[in-house]
Symmetry: C2
Subunit: 253 residues, 2 copies
Amino acid sequence: MLDKIGEYEFIAEPFHCDFSHQLMLGHLGNSMLNAADYHSNDRGYGMEYLNTVHRTWVLSRLTIEMDTLPKAYDKFKIATWVEGAMKYFTSRNFAVTSSEGQTLGYGRSIWAMIDTNTRQPVDILAVRDGLISEYIETEKPCPIKKSSRVKIEGESVLKRTIDTYYNDVDINGHINSVKYIEHTLDLFDLDFYKEYRLRRCDVAYVAESHQGDKLNFYVQQNADEYLVRITKHSKNSAEEVEVVRILLKFVKE
Amino acid sequence: MLDKIGEYEFIAEPFHCDFSHQLMLGHLGNSMLNAADYHSNDRGYGMEYLNTVHRTWVLSRLTIEMDTLPKAYDKFKIATWVEGAMKYFTSRNFAVTSSEGQTLGYGRSIWAMIDTNTRQPVDILAVRDGLISEYIETEKPCPIKKSSRVKIEGESVLKRTIDTYYNDVDINGHINSVKYIEHTLDLFDLDFYKEYRLRRCDVAYVAESHQGDKLNFYVQQNADEYLVRITKHSKNSAEEVEVVRILLKFVKE
């Protein structure tokens, strides 16, 4: 049996780094999703197997909290493990370290499983007789706060509305989870990033959107925290539907 | 001395693939630029050395022509070599193969070198006593047509104007070369890509643009070929300046 914890090496590609030579957070999030994908496939409960039984993982929450971001050309490692698995949700953690073993930051995520025909949640523990339960790792620390539900109360301001295009769409035909993060970070301009560094982001995925949907970004600022609520307007529908909520915590550089 | 040809392995990451499970062309272009970067750094005439003498490479043209694109999870290799070096331009080729050695496609590129203080072209052969000349490879075939200058005559139609944001900007503070390709491919929607596959794209980089610039996309269609002219409107300037020209050749799937 494979180790409960899987570790994967990545490189901070120069064209994935921003003006400060640090890896952009969207690309780091993408590497975390890759690590999750490799880890679960290698252990028999990943997308590769699930696709054969018309099931798939759906990302429900993603939190990334970084002390330090890898710089251009740096190799870094992402360790990932499943911390808990219940009938309808599983929690997966991430630890990001430099190639010398220094801690750079952590991540947390929550996933559901759906039937790809009905799009309804299914029992995670029914897959391969609860195979995932054999890989629960509770000893390895993940010393960051649990993912927030990102509850939004009070006034927020519509900051931007964007169209969604071909490059926003993932392999499943939905807007890519990481693209929501990138579009949200794009609400702030280069001058802002020269002064502030994103320390933590909590993303709560509420509904799917598709190419052609318009996405609306509502922003509420509380000191260095920004709550962003993303809604969609689909073609041929006047209804406005919430798709993602994001909480961003910046620190002054 | 290292081989004249360098070969680098990549993986078609699942979240970099489109609805057809094929690697998106922008991500392939990014891998080519990485291969060029690794190859030139390893041989002593890359950005790493150039930055110490306030010089840098500037991409002038990039052509990608693919028979087959890697599919999600496929490993693939990019071989790259310098085909020729003159005072102000050098040409670098790419061969993309599957991990079993099957040819998937090719690339061509042309680069200039500039002084990062004056932004003026400098003599490539003056760097390290013409070190790059020792690595010219003329035997390896690159059986695709030379990069086109992408001359645009006649009527083209303004198809879209976009703003540029934080995620568009590269390590040098300019709009990332690959982002122009992605924004151009975004002019076509998912339904179009269900019918047509991009076989070749020629990109001519004319000027730089910066975050905050508005980019205008003018399109001219000639059968399955699309000529796209990208201009910028910078803040505090009414002037419209050409930045990139792209020729796209699609084939019916």
